[in-house]
Subunit: 386 residues, 2 copies
């Protein structure tokens, strides 16, 4: 019996100096449980997506949510991690728990508290998601810069396309009251290296990089035979995970092969093509990633993702608006929360509850969440059940 | 459709200066896949139990096993973490994946590489599994010392019983060629504070503490309709997880309440009592924990666990031999590996393949694996299918 999403919660993404990881987790969880119209005691099992790696002291965070309500005591609670795809890992594990019959009402939380450390500290913690064998000491901006350089060598300089992706996602975030940066940026600003837009790791500029963010998101999922009791029910038409080799040296870095595999599997399961998708939330940890995800989605052939940008396909109002939430670029990227946040936003799109972000009439929403440089790849295709 | 354990692997536990986390993972995985008579490409999904918290640089370890064989590329691979119960968390998530129909042949790995850091470094990393709110700065020896002190205050000094548990587990490890410490220790040595057996955190002496260990263990599980194709098949008669509040201040620390809840649920599911269990592998991270687990298992009423020791019930040859492997105390405690190792050893007992550790005729084996100070609690009751 499959799982249906019947409730969701989402903290504001940003810098929350006054909120601990525990507080963020509990805030999102309480909102999701309340929206579903359940009591905490109704929940059978809890899954937490969380990366951490000493960004905060809490290295054993699965049970932090129990402090929300005594009714959660003695529930199974488990943390899952797949780097920046930890949130989707929690969604997928929770869905397995429902499909297995082990649980009928599940709480999924994704959370990260990143701003206790300074930027070098966060960069070092995130670098733990690379291969320690022959990538030790590389930061993620350096990793995606290497990817971008390889892509540029193979297919030409794409700096302008990347700048336009940043502009799009910043503009989209204006419609998302929970986004971290709600400020329009111009193409000229993004496309020009300046004091305010320095080169972080050539060819990636500051505006090509996503944000350092505190935040949490949550879902309540139930067994489908109960879904009729809830105001909203969102199902998985397709869902697939594909992990690739961790070392970059073992992969063709001019494409996101694992992304293509996961997305392809999800299309097959759903019986759809990219042309059936109404909107997508995808993993723009760097603008080059969004460009390459266009190709993995089948929006453009390999090496021609810039055509998607040039034709405005992914723009609000385009054929397939991508990251109407603002994406990791402007909504923010609390790494463990991101995958759950994407599922929340996709669920809101297909239930027509996305507010100013809404794509009118959206029926099928795609989520693509990635851990590392294309290593852990999760794709979900969501649709409202009624 | 339930999951059956059909293969297992287990590295030697100890100090492996020459083996990386990646090497340990691949060694255990290869052994389990080979024992099951499968090819790596036959595996549908992979679950890794792993704690880390910067004991090694690899903070994104789920995909490390893919390097074993190209046939593993694009398989879903996910890390789960529940502190020192991360191994059981992987077993449980993998079982859900099979029961859900998402996978038919699953690889479960538990692994930890602890000896890259010195002892203070490891102690600090493990301390991340306590509550950062009001337990910040406490080490795990201090946490279990506080538990032991509270227990002693309530029920009298149990130092002798703790020493006898250490003696038992060290003696048992002589029969386990994979154990870290295969050296008998005397009751007088364990029960006397000395230069070689210092007080670590009163009332816990060095001999009351488990070891710092490198190691990995692995299982192959398959859907039960395929289990007839394998030489061995071990099933879950009962399996339960219960998480308790993380802060100690919210729990009665004179008992392991969550342990009692999880074990009781597993008994109920299996339709058995403690009297039906032939042998158990339990979480003796500290000797006081094993004593209190006797009570949680129902071997003795609350406060009277020492009677189990006095009557020799848990000894090899006793009514319910506990930790025939040597336990965390002498087999070693590579934290992410421990839960998987316990399932391997229980599977070997019920299939009569435990070598010198074997309890003759063992049919039902209990596993109890714990994360934190009684926070994440997993109990499995295993039996051979034929």
């Amino acid at each position: 019996m499959d799982a249906k999403i019947v409730g969701w919660g989402h903290t504001a993404f940003g810098v929350h100096k006054d909120k601990t990881l525990e507080a963020l987790i509990q805030e999102a969880a309480a909102e999701a449980i309340e929206m579903a119209g359940l009591e905490p005691a109704d929940i059978d099992a809890i899954w937490l997506g969380h990366f951490n790696n000493r960004m905060v002291a809490d290295a054993f965070a699965s049970s932090l949510v129990l402090g929300l309500d005594d009714g959660l005591r003695f529930k199974p609670a488990t943390r899952v991690e797949n780097a920046c795809a930890s949130g989707s890992a929690a969604v997928f594990a929770a869905r397995d728990a429902i499909r297995s019959g082990a649980a009928r009402r599940v709480l999924v939380i994704g959370a990260e508290k990143m701003t206790e450390l300074d930027t070098p500290g966060v960069t070092e913690a995130l670098a733990g998601a690379s291969y320690s064998g022959d990538e030790a000491g590389m930061s993620f901006p350096q990793i995606f810069a290497r990817i971008a350089s390889g892509y540029f060598q193979a297919f030409g300089d794409q700096s302008e396309a990347l700048a336009r992706i940043a502009v799009k996602n910043h503009r989209n975030a204006l419609a998302n009251p929970l986004a971290q940066m709600r400020r329009e940026v111009t193409f000229d600003f993004c496309n020009t290296v300046s004091e305010k837009n320095p080169m972080i790791a050539p060819p990636l500029r500051l505006t090509d990089c996503s944000l350092i963010t505190d935040g949490a998101a949550a879902l309540v999922m139930v067994a489908e035979d109960m879904a009729g009791d809830f105001a909203h029910a969102v199902g998985f038409r397709g869902a697939a995970q594909a992990n690739d080799f961790l070392p970059m040296s073992r992969r063709d870095m001019t494409e996101l092969t694992g992304a293509r595999v996961a997305i392809g599997r999800a299309y097959d399961e759903a019986g759809v093509t990219v042309n059936d998708i109404d909107t997508a939330e995808v993993h723009d940890c760097f603008t080059i990633a969004e460009l390459m995800i266009y190709e993995a989605m089948g929006l453009a052939p390999k090496g021609r993702g810039a055509e998607v940008v040039a034709e405005g396909i992914a723009e609000r109002g385009g054929r397939l608006p991508v990251n109407l939430s603002g994406g990791l670029k402007a909504k923010g990227h609390p790494v463990g929360a991101t995958g759950v946040s994407m599922h929340v936003l996709a669920a809101r799109q297909v239930t027509g509850t996305a507010g100013e972000m809404q794509r009118p009439g959206a029926e099928l929403a795609l989520v693509f969440n990635m851990g590392g440089s294309g290593v852990a790849n999760y794709c979900s295709i969501l649709a409202a059940e009624r």
